[in-house]
Symmetry: C2
Subunit: 109 residues, 2 copies
DNA sequence: TTTCACTACCTCGTAATACTATATAGTATT
DNA sequence: AATACTATATAGTATTACGAGGTAGTGAAA
């Protein structure tokens, strides 16, 4: 999907938090997940930026583990604050989704 | 709704375009509309920057008309390019909404 | 053994966008 | 005269995703 960049602002971080909550994961894997999901244009740089940010915000715990395939991986897990933030994120999303549907209905009026 | 700012990026412009398509309107009225809809924190400055932007992009026609209540109003209407852009906007939104629902379903898995 | 592919992380600079704050001005009411 | 409401405008700021590049480990092919 083209021109999605601006629409992803304020959304992508929540998606990453959700992915982490679903199960311990790391940057490279998150990028692959997003690409497979259909967010083709999301590159590693974008994901790492988000990971640095959520770590600075204190939303995650980080653990470095060796990989058999390459360099060590940095695994992320949500802490209490991260779970709270994820919950708030979905509340924001639901609000927006509801409002957008109200607006959308005027489309063919 | 708090902390909605980032999530509105890439969305608000589309909402404004939709409002204009629904019927000839102007900045002050658009701001009131958004506030009534539940986007309480959106102020006039935000709307006017969007209006300047979509005019520069050539998505709208502008007509100045006198008002009985105050200074003259600048009325906006969508042109062909604006209608195309609005259509593209809803396609982007639908894509994102669909993907977000897929992601959201993992929440309680 | 060296070259390539894949895995994996990191960071600087840029563009786009919403918001803050402030200014200007017309009309009506008190 | 002062206030409230209507109405437009813009310069500066913060946040965010992205582009472009760099570093490094492992294993397979050349």
């Amino acid at each position: 999907m083209k021109n999605l960049t601006e629409m992803l602002k304020g959304v992508l971080e929540g998606v990453v938090l959700q992915k982490i909550q679903t199960g311990e994961t790391y940057g490279y894997e998150i990028t692959r997940y997003l690409n497979e999901l259909g967010f083709d244009d999301i590159v590693e740089g974008t994901v790492y930026t988000i990971l640095v940010r959520i770590e600075k915000k204190g939303l995650v715990e980080v653990e470095k583990k060796k990989s058999e395939l390459g360099p060590a991986r940095k695994f992320y897990t949500l802490n209490a604050k991260g779970k709270q933030e994820l919950n708030d994120f979905w509340l924001r999303w639901s609000f927006l989704e509801k409002k957008m549907n109200e607006i959308k209905e005027q489309r063919d009026v």
